[in-house]
């Protein structure tokens, strides 16, 4: 099965008429759904990504997505929504990691690595048992943004609302615990509980993002925009907003380019993110230091 690319009956219009360009882009329902889902996912991924990078939990985020793979393929095997499987597996794993990592334990990455390797194997088993549907596995691995239904968009909207509200409520103590754990603890911030809640929120965000970029490419929406934002801006709230804006930019431009070119959406999103990161690092290196 080939990678999901856009196949249109007639060649799409593309030119200087911006209104007509937009009409063309939003002509088909699948593109409308794709833009809606990409918007929701990008905002959530970019915002939570700020804390993922700040806390040094990139590997945990990566691992969550891989563990989610087993959940999603298991759900397909059982005939339920892959999103449900994703949420159950990433939620469970996230809670366990948050509990372990309230204090950054030495060797924690080794434990995560061992668990994620096993869950990938589990995912492969589930695919083999569900013989015949390689397409489902492919969609989970690399994203299926063009095959999103109205229901998917609604579920994504609910999940996005939950994560955004949770992040807004937890913002200050989470920032405190991420930047200065010992003082935060002394000031009464429940750092251990916060660590678990954060990983649960991350689990929801990862499960959502899988629809757009898939478990293998989750970094491009969760980690890359935040890594760029944190190099450019030092004020926490501004960096968080910039991170979400960048994720949005990457998702939208990837989707738009993929409409006109016969290559997968995920390729464009990840490439734009990657080269933006390179460009920012290059410019900052030439200037000699990170911007304030």
């Amino acid at each position: 099965m080939a990678a999901p690319t856009i196949l249109l009956l007639a060649p799409p219009y593309f030119g200087w008429d911006v209104v007509r360009d937009l009409q063309e882009l939003f002509r088909y329902p699948f593109m409308q759904h794709a833009y809606a889902a990409a918007t929701l996912v990008a905002i959530v991924a970019g915002a939570i990504g700020y804390f993922v990078v700040l806390r040094g939990s990139s590997f945990a985020a990566h691992a969550l997505s891989h563990i989610g793979f087993a959940g999603a393929t298991g759900a397909v095997l059982l005939g339920v929504s892959p999103l449900a499987g994703l949420l159950v597996f990433t939620g469970g794993a996230g809670a366990a990691m948050g509990w372990l990592g309230g204090r950054r334990l030495r060797g924690q990455d080794v434990v995560i690595g061992i668990v994620l390797a096993w869950t990938l194997g589990l995912g492969v088993l589930f695919i083999a048992l569900y013989s015949g549907n390689v397409q489902a596995a492919f969609a989970i691995l690399f994203g299926e943004i063009l095959g999103i239904s109205v229901t998917d968009v609604q579920v994504t909207a609910i999940a996005a609302a939950i994560t955004v509200v949770a992040l807004a409520v937890l913002y200050r103590p989470l920032l405190f615990a991420s930047v200065d754990e010992e003082v935060a603890e002394a000031r009464g911030v429940p750092v251990q509980a916060l660590s678990i809640i954060f990983m649960l929120v991350l689990a929801v965000a990862v499960s959502e993002a899988v629809q757009v970029v898939g478990v293998l490419l989750i970094f491009s929406l969760i980690v890359t925009p935040a890594a760029i934002a944190e190099r450019l801006v030092a004020r926490p709230l501004r960096a968080l907003i910039l991170s979400a804006a960048l994720a949005l930019l990457f998702a939208w431009s990837g989707l738009t380019i993929a409409y006109y070119l016969p290559y997968p959406v995920s390729f464009f999103i990840t490439s734009i993110a990657f080269f933006s990161y390179l460009a920012v690092r290059g410019v900052l290196a030439l200037r000699g230091r990170a911007a304030v």
């Binding site: 700040l54 807004a168 409520v169 937890l170 913002y171 200050r172 103590p173 920032l175 405190f176 930047v179 200065d180 010992e182 003082v183 935060a184 603890e185 002394a186 000031r187 009464g188 911030v189 944190e230 190099r231 801006v233 030092a234 004020r235 926490p236 709230l237 960096a239 230091r289 990170a290 304030v292």
Partner: protein
Amino acid sequence: MSSAAIAARDLAAGYDGARIWQGATFEIAQGEFIAVLGPNGAGKSTLFRIILGLLRPAAGSLQVLGGAPRRGDARIGYVPQRRTIDVDLPVRGRDLVKLGVDGHRLGIEVPGPARVAADRRVAEAIHAVRADAYADRRVGRLSGGEQQRLSLAQALVGKPEILLLDEPLASLDLRNQIGMAALVADLARQQGLTVLLIAHDVNPLLNLIDRVLYVAHGQTAIGKPGEMITSETLTRLYGAEVEVLRDRHGHLYVVGLEDEIAHPHGAAP
């Protein structure tokens, strides 16, 4: 006595069977400046954690500002022992200090009079530690001394009554050690703060402190520096032959405990 800032009675630290130290009985008056001395691993930071309410005493009683220690007590400012801050930590010094005002509150700060007042308090605290020049740079890129001053500002911004400083002079050169110690003493006097400062070398503090609290070999002892830092007292405290030498500037040198005192970064026992 209720006017004491901190009063310990037969206090012990540690876990079942394994006591770190015990029998600590002392009173620290409000406004006193105390240097907490003792070898690595003797339980100096543990004493701080008990005062902060993060750790329960193994035995005995402790009164902090007239009540039992409780976690999150805003009347205590705390600067933990610092490891190096990640160079790329994307946070300005000012943001770090700001967390001392409202970092424990839920939600996102909203624009308004409360935020203006908070920003002013942050600016005042930064000014008080003379960190104005670099408060808007990323903390990870500042020197150890600059980071220590900002941490101190973070502890002060909550308008505490007690200040607990865990090795604020470690990793500073001698000139910065003296500057930092003098700054803490100044602020403590101006604001009427009770200060407990953990240090390895008492010399930069000698003219500033009221008393020293020794935590060594499972016990504690408190007294004036002149009474405490003597060959007799330290020999008794450590149970080893210790000699205290005094040079013509009045600096004290402790001989015989090189492994425990003279190498601040030596391995903990």
